[in-house]
């Protein structure tokens, strides 16, 4: 007989170690294969085929890359600060891999000895843990750039610190609306509230979703925000001097951040492992796994099943993969911003917008609660309408030269020369 009690005792230890092993292995595997995905997708976008020599469809390419990087020569610049140079890749690698611990990946799994949560650590600080650890990564990047004793690497590290700190502000502020909606910072509760609302937060919090995606791109140093690497300007930025496995550690951490950020975006705004319908809803409420509340506020027990766990995990994987594809897709479409544009966008656009939006959503939530609308679909619809208007306004004031200008629109100076004459000045 399956019991709907949370797992405890020795079995907790066993399932926990299993979960840690499996999820960690899964993350590393996904990271390895996202490097392959990046190369294949970029190749397809450019009408090439990409690496397809190693194994069927090139599926063993990450293994070959790993072996190659392990066997390559480790270089250590003679002027580098040895200790920090060696430490920096570890500083970047560890935070990118441990942040996954608080993200729920599927519906709880019933076993004969109790219900196993599909999350490594359902810590009460949830999102704060993610924010704290993802901010730690910037130290590794800055240290790597500084310890290399190379001007390009140093500039890359410098840019990384400025950019990641700036966008962390917008990232955190756009998160505030999610936290106001869910009333808690644990990611399991964020998923649960989206299930209860009957719609994913991407709709009622559309502007926060957009801001979060933009900030996440900047936080993971991906194009169009890859200032710290900026191949055309800084060689490869902060990891210019790194080779072999240390370089690989930087790459793994970049992709690890992408995977974590994708999973986070899926969890916060696309319902995490939640699939449409209420059949998969499950949440621990006062020691019971409940599905929801009836009209008179009585808890309805959930009925977890292994197939629900599998299906919801597939849903979660699909959402995460979508964001991974978006990362790669945008990287191979958009050109890099200029550094001052990145900073202006972060401080002059993202930050005030996120602040104003947090206030707007806060007041709308207050009004809705005062009016007495129950937390449910109509609540979500009201917020969707407000957010849709806010998003439209944001895009209106952002675009068409008001804040950002398309490349074609920047030729304000009219150049008109016949014969060899002086170059056009700014006043022309």
């Amino acid at each position: 007989m399956e019991s709907l009690q949370p797992i405890s005792g020795l079995w907790l230890l066993i399932t926990m170690s299993l979960k840690v092993t499996i999820i960690f292995g899964l993350v590393v595997l996904v990271v390895a294969y996202s490097t392959l995905a990046e190369r294949r997708v970029s190749a397809w976008i450019q009408d090439r085929r990409g690496p397809n020599r190693v194994g069927p469809f090139g599926l063993l390419q990450p293994v070959a890359d790993g072996i190659k990087n392990l066997l390559k020569e480790e270089t250590l610049p003679s002027t580098a600060s040895r200790a920090f140079f060696v430490l920096a890749p570890m500083f970047v690698l560890v935070p990118s891999l441990v942040t996954f611990a608080v993200i729920p990946i599927a519906a709880p799994l019933p076993t004969p000895v109790g219900v196993v949560d599909m999350i490594i650590a359902d810590v009460p600080i949830g999102i704060l843990y993610v924010l704290a650890f993802s901010s730690l990564a910037v130290y590794g990047v800055v240290l790597g750039g500084w310890a290399s004793n190379n001007k390009y690497a140093f500039l890359g590290g410098l840019r990384a610190s400025a950019q990641m700190v700036s966008y962390e502000v917008a990232l955190g502020l756009s998160l505030i609306t999610v936290l106001m909606m869910s009333g808690n910072v644990t990611l399991t509760e964020v998923v649960w509230q989206q299930q209860q609302l009957g719609m994913w937060f991407a709709f009622p919090l559309s502007l926060a979703f957009i801001l979060f995606v933009i900030s996440a791109f900047a936080e993971t140093n991906r194009l169009p925000f890859d200032m710290p690497e900026a191949e055309s300007e800084l060689v490869t930025g902060y990891h210019t001097e790194y080779s072999a496995m240390k370089f690989s550690a930087f790459m793994i951490s970049e992709f690890g951040h992408m995977v974590t950020a994708s999973a986070l975006m899926a969890t916060l705004f696309l319902g995490g492992w939640d699939l449409p319908g209420t059949w998969d809803d499950a949440f621990w409420h006062e020691g019971q796994l409940i599905k929801g509340f009836s009209q008179d506020g009585v808890a309805v027990l959930a009925n977890p099943a292994w197939w629900k766990t599998v299906l919801t995990f597939c849903g979660f994987a699909a959402k995460t993969s979508f964001f991974m594809l978006l990362y790669i897709w945008i990287r191979w479409t958009l050109p890099r911003f200029r550094y001052d544009q990145v900073m202006a966008l972060g401080w002059k656009v993202m930050l005030p917008t996120a602040l104003a939006y947090a206030m707007l959503i806060g007041s709308v939530i207050l009004v809705l609660d005062e009016v007495g609308i129950r937390w449910g679909f109509s609540y979500g619809l009201a917020l969707t309408a407000v957010s849709g208007a806010a998003t439209a306004g944001f895009i209106f004031f952002l675009d068409r030269g008001r804040t950002i200008i398309g490349a074609a629109g920047q030729s304000r100076q009219k150049v008109s020369i016949s014969g060899i004459s002086q170059p056009a000045t700014a006043e022309d």
């Binding site: 450019q46 068409r400 030269g401 200008i405 074609a408 629109g409 016949s418």
Partner: protein, 166 residues
């Protein structure tokens, strides 16, 4: 000479949308992403198409009884600009001339095809073939037997679809 600058008629910033441009760019890259036709040729698996005019590895034409068609007239080593053909001619009892030694150094050869053009009996040819990797340099000097063994198509030296180039 006066340098003229072409004026690009670019729209004003108020008329260009960054977001729309970015989205249309993404639509373009997505079309290429799902487009199954790729320009890369999977070379070892897919044989590559050679032009009918392609001048590659030589081959020597043979008679039905297996003798080389070469009559050791000495025109090809004479005309060869790279001086890569070594020919020692002989004569049999009936007075027919034949090559005792006929060697082509494929390394020195510049594949101009003049040996084929000059040959009066259409014996030596350049061919539509280029995959001749070997483990030693000495293997690149093709002797008469090796030249007769080659069975790849010979070069037309002109493009049949463009007869005026003959």
């Amino acid at each position: 000479m006066a340098i003229s600058v072409k004026l690009m008629n670019r729209p004003e910033p108020e008329q260009t949308s960054y977001l729309r441009a970015a989205l249309s760019g993404m639509a373009l890259t997505f079309r290429h992403l799902v487009n199954p036709s790729k320009v890369t040729q999977q070379y070892p698996e897919e044989p590559t198409d050679l032009s009918p005019r392609w001048r590659g590895t030589h081959r020597m034409e043979v008679h039905a009884d297996g003798r080389p068609k070469c009559v050791a007239c000495g025109l090809c080593p004479t005309v060869c600009p790279a001086n890569c053909i070594r020919l020692v001619g002989g004569e049999d009892d009936q007075g027919n001339r034949y090559p005792i030694v006929y060697e082509i150094d494929e390394f020195r050869c510049i594949f101009c095809g003049m040996c084929q053009e000059v040959c009066p009996v259409e014996a030596i040819h350049v061919g539509q073939h280029f995959e001749n990797a070997e483990y030693t340099r000495s293997r690149f000097v093709y002797d008469l037997d090796r030249l007769m063994e080659q069975d790849h198509p010979t070069t037309l030296l002109w493009d049949p679809s463009d007869p005026s180039s003959e």
